[in-house]
Amino acid sequence: MDGTDDPEKLAAFEARLAAGDRVEAAEWMPARYRVECLRLIQMHANSELMGALPEREWIPRAPTLSRKMALVAKVQDEIGHAQLLYRIAEDLGKPRPQMIEELMAGSSKFHNVFHYPAETWADVAVIQLFVDGAAMQTQGSLRSSSYAPYARVLKRICYEEDFHIRLGLDNFKTLAEGTPAQRAMLQDALNRWWQPLMHFFGPHDQASPHLELMMRWRIKVKTNDELRQQVLRQFVPVIQEYGMQVPDPGLRWDEARNQYAYTEPDWDEFKRVARGEGPKSRLRLELRNRYHAQHRWVREAVARWEMAA
């Protein structure tokens, strides 16, 4: 496998996982298992932290006080998820300040979907309902992850994501049942977010030793294509129920294959965004860096508090 792992320990580890056992931070694990878990959880933590930014922009502009309060609560949940995730990621061997540095330097990734602008209030509805809905599919499946600390944190995260999706549906429904201008705004948001949503789970799975290993070790539980079909089955009826248009003329139910057929999104765009060349990549990272600098005094105050204690 890695060459560095004791073959006997590795065999015992694989037998345990095959029997459904899970791994705790303090237990022996193959070097590659540690690296892959860390990569996954660090990226997830980055995405929660960066994912708060597009919606955060709408807090001052929320249309009513109750919607503003709900949005604040939702954004706070996302930051809370980042805290939970960085906490368990650091136990895999990378200090938390280093992970924050890597995010701010652009050397570690955050999810593609947070590289796009949130142009109108309808974008907030689409993000809450569909982006969080898609995230829920991945995270829901990973509650059976073999890495026990991650699986436990995901229980709490999914519980809160459920609130975000219900909030999103309420915002979506209000616009969909609103004035022609509100419906047009919602359709425009759907049109712009459709491709990022089709990109959400990543490219089609290619059979590979890597994929096989990730599934065998339960670091990955469902394939990208399985998850994409799951969200189409979830999203398409909601969009249609409210008389909105699914922004893909090629979308149809394929009876024979028992799944949706759809127009391939632009996978070159996916790669560009993943390299940090999305429409808002640079601006969002600048914001993260600026907030980090602004809050330096808090970190310094905490350190001084400690010296005084």
Binding site: W28, R87, P95, W305
Partner: protein, 100 residues
């Protein structure tokens, strides 16, 4: 960072235990980084008690928590048949008794 470790990092990580109602035990719900217990409680309230019911919070430094090792989990398994400790082992007597 492992429980019971005396590393500088383990001093800054506090395990948070939440009690939902007085009828519930305190349950470990996550951790916070903090310079001391007072600050840990402030952060724990924000992160673990902002939505669901909570009547009480505990925080404890990781370095102060002693724990068994998962590698030694077999020492927690019963070494002999412990079925006599379970009510379910006495069904036969209950069945006979009920028939009378």
């Amino acid at each position: 960072m492992n429980l019971g470790e005396m590393t500088p990092d383990a001093r800054h990580v506090f395990a948070v235990f939440r009690q939902e109602t007085k009828n519930d035990p305190h349950v470990h719900v996550g951790d916070v980084h903090a310079p001391d217990a007072e600050m840990a409680l402030v952060l724990a309230k924000e992160q673990f008690a902002r939505r669901d019911p909570c009547v009480n919070l505990w925080v404890a430094r990781y370095s102060d928590i002693a724990a068994t090792r998962y590698e030694d989990a077999d020492m927690l398994e019963p070494s002999t048949d412990k079925s006599y400790r379970f009510g379910g082992s006495y069904r036969e007597q209950q069945r006979v008794y009920r028939r009378r």
